[in-house]
Symmetry: C2
Subunit: 203 residues, 2 copies
């Protein structure tokens, strides 16, 4: 595509490097910014620059936190459970359910040999250290990792690493989502939902 100005071309190139944004969308966004007040652009660029520059990760649980009062250090948190997740959006998703009040541990990825990500590239060692350093205060580890091949491998590796520590390991329930149609559920999920069946009035 020919662009009317090299400034637009450069902006389009930069915007389209973002995931899920192609050249056409990038052009639409660039032209949108051109039509808005200049303040609109400066607020956007300032927010992005500040985000990238000032964001810190908690050294204990690896959750994003720009201040020192990470959720893992607040008094309100239940210090006996730790929920292990792949990344920050998972922390947010679980927090938004309002059903969990314990601590988190962000792995920062899952073990995926095909992508060159080994056990040492995700924060498993800090998880083990955290649990053994708690002297029994941490009673349960909930593995909330996506049920993919890589996720399952990671979960298996973690359980192996935690062997010997007196901590209960659980995993979030797999089954048919609320509102899901039995007919259209894949067989693996359906099979697991039968294996993990519960007494009818237990809920």
């Amino acid at each position: 595509m020919e662009y009317p100005s090299s400034l637009i071309e450069e902006a389009v190139n930069q915007i389209s490097r973002l995931p899920g944004i192609g050249k056409k969308t990038a052009l639409r966004l660039a032209l949108h910014l051109l039509k808005q007040d200049e303040l609109e652009t400066t607020s956007l660029t300032a927010a992005l620059a500040k985000l990238r520059k000032d964001t810190r990760y908690c050294s204990t649980c690896h959750v994003i936190s720009h201040t020192t009062d990470c959720t893992c250090k607040t008094i309100k948190t239940d210090l006996s459970t730790i929920c292990v997740v792949e990344d920050t959006p998972d922390v947010m998703a679980i927090q938004n359910t309002g059903q969990y009040h314990g601590m988190f541990h962000v792995l920062g990825g899952v073990i995926s040999p095909i992508d060159g990500i080994g056990p040492d590239d995700v924060h498993i060692d800090t998880l083990v250290k955290r649990i053994s350093a708690s002297n029994g205060e941490i009673k349960e580890v909930i593995l909330a990792i996506s049920p993919t091949m890589e996720g399952d491998t990671t979960a298996f590796y973690i359980t192996k690493k935690l062997k010997g520590l007196s901590v209960k390991i659980s995993t979030i329930a797999r089954g048919i989502p609320i509102g899901g149609e039995l007919e259209y559920t894949d067989e693996v999920t359906l099979g697991r939902s039968i294996i993990s069946r519960r007494d009818y009035h237990q809920d």
Copy 2:
């Protein structure tokens, strides 16, 4: 939604002001930037800031141009035709067809009383001035405006304004798009395509 840090919240708010980007996509983009090298973010913000600050519009044809050699002033351009379009993407779309080598005139919008855009808010007066100042050098005005209610109103207004100037006014052909199915074409388009029928071997 609860964000793990106010930096992310601010970035998400700013990104989601862009058209077609919701909070979820904005969060995904923000977290993507956090995972990339810091240089990725600085190149993006620099390109956007430069785009907004340095972009200029040609005072003659209103096409975006950051230098003084706008296409309307280059020798290669056919100076006898002027193509009137609504906005910059239209200029690019027509240039990319390789079928047009004349000048452009960007209106910067179409007349739309419901949105409070009157004839004085789009660049019609400069078009009239441009044609009358050319002393007959501009022989044809091609109206390449979208066939919407507002577009048709704008085209009608322009033809009225150009009355008395010895210039031919044409409009791009309406009809069934290449590859389009006759059966699924709306009646107005189909009707127009019959009225504007051409001799079979003319193409």
